[in-house]
Amino acid sequence: MRRHTTFRRIDPVDAAQVAHISSSRVFDDLRREIMRATEATDSTLDVYASPLELRNQPRYRRTSIALAVAAVILLVIGLTVFVPRGGGGKGAITRSPVRATTTPWNAARPLSTLKGGAVHRRSGTWSLVDDVLSGRWQQSLLGPPGGYLACPSTSTCYAMSGHYASADANAPLLSVSLYVSTDIGSTWSVLPMPQGFHPTSSLACGGITECAAGGTYHGTSVLVSTIDGGHSFVIAPLPAGDGTLYSLSCPSPTFCAGLSATGSDTNQTPSDATFLSTSDGGSTFVDAPIIAGDSMQSLACSSNLDCTAIGSSDALGADDVTGGVVARTEDGGGRWVAGNFPSGFGVSYLSQLSCADALHCSVGGTIAITVANSPRCASLPGLGETPTTTPTTTTQSPAVQAISEFESEVATSEILKEAQSGSSSFSCSSGQTLISDIASSSNGGLTWTPDPLPADVPQPQLSGLSCPTDKECWAAGSDAVPEQIGNTQNGGSSVLLGTTDGGLSWSKVTFSVPTNAPNDYGQSYLSIGSIACPSANVCLAQGSTAQSSPSAPLYSLVVPGPTSPS
């Protein structure tokens, strides 16, 4: 909740700094000193004996009767006060506690693929095409395997990555690891996640040591969470019949909410997902329906009360991903109010939603554009220079249409440029093309404005979005600019976009990939998949790689200043 978030901001202690200082040698000396001490008792011991037992605490003895009476009264008051909120209002069901299991504690192992234990290898910087934004992005060639990133503080980041038997599409997932960095991605440690856990949601971290992910555990739908930075995990089964968590958001250390559904449509959008939340690490869940007829697929909560969900309309069907739906709750899921995307702006299973606060959200959605084919397409049967058929799309609003026309020109221009350059590769389309666009909202998602993207980003496909403030947002993905890396010719490039004016203008980050960069299966620089920006001017992004690739490129933005780590 907002109040809770603000309260955390007045915490005088930076937990990351404390974690760092706690690794100082003096702590080892203190431990040795303590253990060397004699077993002699001292007079103060009685005070501390069994501190968890009330009978040893005199003030509780003195007031035990009064407290017992008060407890009954408070329980009644508490139930009156909490049930409507915690219960999520009309239609919400609080599920009985389910049995959770906790894994044994594991020590972190440094991820040392390079000499000295550091995993990163700096390779120059990225620069921004436009001078709208400050700072420089650092590019690291080696990071942990590609996965889901989450950065709960300006220095601490986690990556949840799977290890696959091979790069084949159907290769089995062997295990999942949690990678931890306390220096915004420079060095990493690795911790095992429960064997048998298969994530189905992204990783969400509500605190520096508190993270969670939805998935299945030996086939059972679960929420896996940690409160000690990944050294141990609690595996909490979801309530029966609620399906599996597809999207998860944890705005505070103790509260997580997700979208849970029993199945998905042909476009991998979960069907009729329900809003599932927990305030106790998965011991109990509150299950609340969202809006009938809508299939929500991505969720962002800025507090325990304020959440926004986006998805698609069941009425439109799975074939049309250009007609999105959105809903907002201000009471933790009890009551949902439908918002409106501009017509022609849709949501696909790749769409990401990020809310900097209760009011300011951005979403990576889908719009349809018409791209002229390369002249070379004329030689192919059934394909001319102008596509003739169109996929199912929703009629575009004037704002979406303006962006669609602009993006069509940008894409066509790039294709013609490519054809003139004599490039050996070209692509042909038989209909309209679906690209990504970003829309911004300043009222929690009730209404949205589509944002114009830069002219040097043809056919953007965005899969990562993170908005640390109401003005600053970063988006990651790919575009259709061809790129040569070593001997590998890519039809597209990785893309990072940023805005510092709430989406009115976006700038592209440019970079070059060294020819000797690790590039497993030639897939490491096709796209950037995940991005996490814990505060203004601090971001970490990770390249999408082949699924068995041992490492992924990392991109970090740290602008020196009061918000950057010391």
Binding site: V13, A19, Y48
Partner: protein, 195 residues
């Protein structure tokens, strides 16, 4: 002493020391006091290891112990050894966020100080230590329900204090009036920030 006992203490110590250091820093009057509280808390844990629960409950046990150590800290003079002095020096190198980041946070910090110690402790355990109701209940020696209700009331009190402060700010010719550490202070958030 058995190897198993040593291993157990080492594990507890490794797992919980950042949290106990943070707990002490948030509440102690000085870094020296924080170092004392950390050292004494773990000394007690070592001596009473048989009483310390395993797993998460071990950390809660340490919070309870640290709480009592803190409460009793002013009543007696602790014998400071060389390691504790070094620990205090190490903690002095830590940058605490003494200044709140914005006006609202300044007011919240002031209002937090105007609450009762128990209310403050609840809010800090929930907001800063990140404990849930059940965990707070164990630390404070009450049921999870009681902890939840007390936390709700503490939050309401904090909100009310902040609303009162804001209302006083808006009144023409008046400035907010708030009790800070036993001293009546009349000030506005902007003035507080400059202090």
């Amino acid at each position: 002493m058995s190897e198993a006992r040593e291993d157990r203490f080492c594990e507890l110590y490794e797992l919980s020391r950042p949290k106990i250091v943070a707990y002490a820093l948030r509440r102690a009057a000085s870094r020296d006091d924080a170092a004392d509280i950390v050292a004494e808390t773990f000394e007690i844990a070592w001596r009473r290891l048989a009483d310390v629960a395993t797993g998460e409950a071990g950390l809660l046990w340490l919070y309870v112990t640290a709480r009592f150590v803190l409460a009793n800290h002013g009543r007696r003079v602790r014998r400071r050894d060389e390691v504790t002095v070094r620990l205090a020096e190490e903690l002095r190198g830590l940058e605490l966020r003494e200044e709140a980041p914005d006006a609202k946070s300044v007011v919240m910090r002031l209002c937090l100080n105007s609450l009762t110690p128990d209310e403050r402790e609840l809010l800090m355990l929930a907001g800063w230590e990140g404990l849930n109701a059940a965990q707070m209940g164990r630390v404070l020696g009450c049921s999870p329900t009681a902890a939840r209700i007390r936390l709700h009331r503490a939050r309401a009190r904090l909100t009310s204090e902040m609303a009162d402060f804001a209302a006083a700010e808006k009144r023409p010719g008046r400035v907010g009036h708030i009790q800070v550490r036993g001293t009546a202070t009349s000030t506005s958030p902007q003035e507080v920030r400059r202090q």
